[in-house]
């Protein structure tokens, strides 16, 4: 009654039942995970029933020829995947996801291998059947992983060496790849082993370079910028910031449904809001809720808009949130980049504390434009 397939599915059903019960007891009863595990269990029970009902596809019980079966790594990989699953439940979600991937891949390989080994009495035919089924999946996956490793390694090299050396290395590597590719294309009679050897040597060279590059670390200017947070650090003054204002965005995809559009025109600042016929000098911003302003610069000089975040922000436990994970909260302000005439940028700000909790009014200002401010009222 119970053969290899039904035992496998029965075991998996038991494992899924255990996981479901453990999830309900230890995690949460009404969570989506419980529903998903229930569905997995239902699917496995269904598959078990089908496998048993059709007697595993055998019209009659056949003695198994052990000579046709070879050694298999997949049971071991399945166990590794299951261990990762369990580990992931305790430690971190990434292990859980990795465990799911490994279990699914190992089970697929295992099932297809087991099926192919009993497909016929000819081991060569069986292997060919396995390859025909799995190679269309295996090759792209392995190629993707391999390319990922090569690209990541190359990126480590480029981040470790200087900018000028990087340009040279890039040109040399690209030329070598082009030359090798052209050679392979022009000489179709080349031996496969030679082509493989050249590709492997190239890939190993890049991976070795990547390991070396990772060992050396980031080049000096990048390391300093990362350490000092230049790319996150918002410098909100009149002057152009070396890092923050680099390649300022000048236009937006978001143009509607914002709290207010702040316009700088002829040295005057005003807030344009849907529903208000005239430009306003005061904006109401919902408390503890991200609000988005668009800043439009119609002045000739390059300008930025600065939002003051208030004194209560610094005193409060929660740091203010901005669109780009700003780490510049200690100044209690955030800002757009410096933008030229006709350009626009969005700025999202969250005010956790109300205006009455502030020492000074919350404002939107433009450095270098004196006497102009939009008051932000936070109820």
């Amino acid at each position: 009654m119970f053969k290899v397939g039904s035992k496998l599915f029965l075991g998996l059903s038991g494992f899924a039942s255990f996981n479901l019960v453990a999830y309900i007891i230890f995690v949460e009863r009404l969570a989506i995970g419980g529903v998903a595990l229930s569905m997995v269990l239902a699917a496995l029970v269904g598959l078990t029933a089908i496998v048993m009902l059709i007697n595993e596809g055998d019209s009659e019980s056949q003695p198994r020829d052990n000579a046709l079966t070879g050694a298999s790594l997949w049971p071991l990989m399945t166990v590794v995947g299951l261990m990762l699953l369990v580990l992931g439940l305790v430690v971190a979600q990434i292990y859980f996801v990795l465990g799911i991937v490994v279990v699914l891949a190992a089970l697929a390989e295992w099932l297809v291998q087991a099926w192919s080994e009993s497909a016929s009495d000819d081991p060569a035919h069986n292997e060919s059947a396995r390859q025909r089924l799995l190679h269309p999946i295996e090759f792209p996956v392995i190629a993707t992983l391999g390319l990922g490793v090569v690209i990541f390694s190359f990126s480590r090299v480029m981040l470790a060496i200087s900018k000028s050396a990087g340009a040279v290395v890039f040109m040399v590597v690209a030329s070598l790849v082009l030359l090798a590719g052209s050679w392979f294309a022009l000489r179709p009679a080349l031996k496969g082993a030679l082509v493989s050897a050249i590709c492997v040597v190239g890939a190993v060279g890049i991976v070795a370079g990547g390991i070396a590059g990772a060992g050396v670390g980031l080049r000096t200017d990048l390391a300093e910028a990362a350490e000092e947070g230049h790319y996150l650090h918002r410098e909100c003054g009149v002057e152009k910031s070396k890092y923050f204002d680099k390649k300022a965005m000048k236009t937006l995809s978001l143009r509607s449904n914002v709290t207010a559009i702040i316009e700088l025109r002829n040295g005057r600042l005003s807030a344009v809001m849907v529903g208000f016929g005239e430009p306003q000098q005061r904006v109401t911003a919902s408390r503890a809720n991200p609000v988005t302003f668009i800043f439009r610069n119609f002045d000739e000089a390059e300008r930025r808009m600065v939002a003051s975040l208030g004194s209560a922000m610094a005193a409060g436990a929660a740091a203010p949130e901005t669109t780009e994970g700003d780490s510049h909260a200690e100044k209690n302000e955030t800002c757009t980049q410096l933008i030229p005439q006709g350009a626009e940028q969005a700025l999202t700000v969250k005010y956790d504390k109300p205006s009455v909790a502030q020492d000074a009014p919350l404002t939107l200002t433009v450095p270098g434009v004196a006497g102009q401010a939009i008051e932000v009222f936070v109820p």
Binding site: V258, V274, R282, T284, S286, A318, V356, P379
Partner: protein, 399 residues
């Protein structure tokens, strides 16, 4: 055979009668077929003829199908001649619906664009949804006497015959604002400001409900729009902007103020309320509530509802008195607010005693891991009956 057919006919008749009688309900405040303002009327004027046309077409199609089933059912007659296609008939049957849809489309687009107008706005109100209540803030608009922002919740108060523009957003998930008698629905989406026009023809209260599933107490996320005459609205604005009046020393309400300062002010703001050291009491819902906000209770007793308009602050008799008042008397009755004789003390005490028991919320302190220890809704504060007495006395002064 005859018996089962008779039974089926009776069931059909009963269902039809129930549907007919259901449509005659008088107490149906969220009836979409009873518009009470020009925006809702625009929708009604569109949906009435569309419904009629669709209904007539539906009846014709159903009758044709029924006739074909009855007339051509298998009685052993020979199979009729089989033909492929009838271009004239097919073109006719394609063109007629296309024309009908085109005509409906023209009027529909016109209504959509009319409902989206914002250039004729007379009063702006910011509306923020969160699980499971609505916050209303009235930005400064001197022409309406609003010289400082007004914050309220539960009931949206607006002047009658005025083009009011709601600027809607949300603090957590997507909600949808819908007062059927005044306009259609509009989603309130986090990070976006959507607009919705409202205008009421006559003073009164218009009920509504959140119409985008938003979690555990979605069904309890209600709202009411209160339309007042311009004079009454001016009085309401003045009342909302009036300075905080602390309870007299030595009263139960004064003791309630202390309880409020110890417990409630962690989330609920009362403008002007000061601590014993004279500093302003600033609520910190951003530190305790997942959405970052809790209802502002400054003029709580000027409203008729609490807890996301799920409960009435007025006893049934007093509430009926306000709801059923005629236009001339409505404003005065509404502005009278809630006093001790009309307070729905049972529901209010039950709420203060254990809020999650009377309104489903994610407020179990043991199950807040997903929200960084913050509540979604009001938790059980474990107040004693004595503290509840004091709080009720204090809340009655917030008028």
């Amino acid at each position: 055979m005859m018996k089962s057919r008779r039974l089926a006919l009776r069931a059909l008749a009963a269902t039809g009668a129930a549907a007919f009688l259901g449509s005659c309900a008088t107490n149906a405040p969220q009836d979409t077929w009873q518009p009470k303002g020009p925006n809702a009327k625009m929708i009604d004027d569109l949906q009435q003829p569309v419904f009629a046309v669709a209904g007539i077409i539906g009846i014709i199609v159903a009758a044709a199908v029924g006739f074909a089933i009855w007339r051509y059912k298998d009685r052993g007659q020979p199979i009729p001649e089989q033909t492929h296609g009838k271009p004239a008939l097919e073109i006719t049957l394609t063109v007629i619906p296309a024309l009908i849809l085109a005509v409906v489309g023209v009027f529909t687009f016109r209504v959509i664009f009319d409902l989206a107008r914002t250039d004729d706005t007379q009063l702006v109100i910011n509306v923020t949804g969160q699980q499971w209540w609505w916050e209303y803030d009235y930005p400064v608009q001197n022409e309406w006497g609003i010289t400082q922002p007004i914050i309220s919740s539960g009931q949206l108060v607006m002047p009658v015959g005025t083009k009011v523009l709601l600027r809607e957003t949300s603090r957590d998930v997507i909600h949808s604002y819908w007062i059927p008698a005044l306009n259609g629905k509009r989603d309130a989406v986090p990070g976006r400001v959507h607009t919705l026009r409202l205008e009421a023809d006559a003073p009164g209260i218009y009920a509504g409900q959140c119409t985008e599933f938003c979690g555990l107490s979605h069904a309890n996320m209600r709202m009411e729009a209160v339309a007042l005459s311009n004079e009454d609205f001016a009085k309401w604005v003045a009342g909302q902007q009036a300075a905080y009046q602390p309870p007299a020393e030595g009263t139960l309400a004064k003791e309630g103020e202390s309880v409020f300062l110890n417990q409630c002010v962690r989330c609920h703001q009362v403008e002007g309320l000061k601590r014993a050291d004279g500093t302003l009491a600033i609520a910190a819902p951003d530190e305790n509530v997942w959405s970052g906000a809790a209802p502002n209770l400054t003029k709580l007793m000027s409203r008729n509802t609490f807890a996301g308009a799920m409960f009435n602050l007025l006893r049934d008799a007093c509430r009926d008195d306000v709801w059923r008042a005629d236009s001339a008397e409505f404003g005065a009755k509404y502005l009278a607010g809630v006093d001790e004789t009309c307070l729905n003390v049972n529901d209010l005490r039950a709420w203060l005693r254990n809020a999650p028991e009377v309104k489903p919320m994610y407020a179990n302190p043991a199950l807040l891991a997903d929200t960084n220890g913050k509540y979604r809704g009001m938790p059980n504060l474990g107040l004693s009956e004595s503290d509840i007495d004091k709080l009720v006395a204090y809340l009655l002064t917030l008028k």
